[in-house]
């Protein structure tokens, strides 16, 4: 199973509707797991069938009703079991890296454009994650929060997100610089 546990972990933070989870998983925060909305609705239905979560209907005025989901005891137990099972290696798949690998044999212009775009989305994500960190730790400084805070899990994964996006951003910028310089001097057919 896969998405399953990411959803359970997300529900540790409180009640969520499918729509709300979709937004969280769209950015990929909180879980290092991307998922499309349709996938979430499907997974939530399965999780409820299996008794790992329960949904309660919330009637709303002026907007569609929604269902908020909470972890059950069985859900928490399943998370516990998952956490102590051996971790699968991280899955990374990147189109852009494949393109850079091939850059000596194809037109570098579109690749440069894509590197610039990736750099700017990484910068945007970084800013978002840094805002999230500030919200999580409130007035406390980071060191104190990590030592005494009650719930540091989401903070730690968000830190991972920051580092990752910074790495991605810097790599894109540096790689683009190399390719642009080569295009200028142009001594490679």
């Amino acid at each position: 199973m896969a998405l399953r546990h990411a959803v359970l972990a997300a529900l540790l933070d409180g009640e969520y509707s499918g729509y709300q989870l979709a937004k969280v998983f769209d950015v990929g925060v909180a879980n290092f797991w991307y998922a499309a909305p349709q996938q979430l609705y499907g997974e939530l239905a399965k999780l409820e069938r299996d008794g790992l979560i329960t949904g309660r209907q919330v009637i709303q005025r002026h907007r569609p009703n929604k269902r908020l989901f909470t972890l059950t005891g069985a859900g928490v137990a399943e998370l516990e079991r998952f956490a102590s099972a051996p971790a699968k290696p991280l899955v990374l798949r990147d189109d852009l890296a494949v393109k850079v690998h091939a850059v000596d044999h194809v037109d570098p212009e579109p690749v440069l454009a894509q590197l610039a775009e990736r750099a700017s989305t990484a910068a945007a994500k970084l800013a978002l994650y840094e805002r999230t960190l500030r919200e999580l730790r409130q007035d406390t400084d980071e060191e104190t929060f990590l030592r005494d805070g009650e719930r540091v899990g989401p903070y730690l994964t968000c830190l991972a997100g920051c580092r990752l996006e910074r790495t991605v951003h810097d790599w894109c910028v540096d790689t683009a610089r190399v390719l642009r310089q080569r295009a200028r001097t142009g001594s490679h057919p």
Copy 2:
């Protein structure tokens, strides 16, 4: 399509058999794309059917025969088309990050063990990638190689691998330190 282009890009480096590609894709070097052997044999068959690669049989003594694959003109054209199409966002999925997200609600011991393991595999990959970089640039220094080298694509993606593994490694070490300290002082039920 997905694996497809990663395989085509890998074949820019020369002829490969399914078995050889499997080793490359198992580590994930060269392409930022992991793939299991079975997947590769399947994909190679499809690519040959579609005329993007051609295989030639190599008869061997003392070991099984193999088939080496090369890009065709159509294959290179397909790569060119792929490189200029908009890049899909990078896909990242990580069990371990999900576990860290949940670490305040589950037993941290097994998570610590998994962080240590991840840190050491990241260090091993880093060492491997650094060796690869040295092989690629031979005697030249990095700056010169990136300016004047003929084929920098694989070098640039390998640099990305280095940065990524370093980021992963450091995050695991730092996260483990935070969690160990919390376990010692133990003021959080």
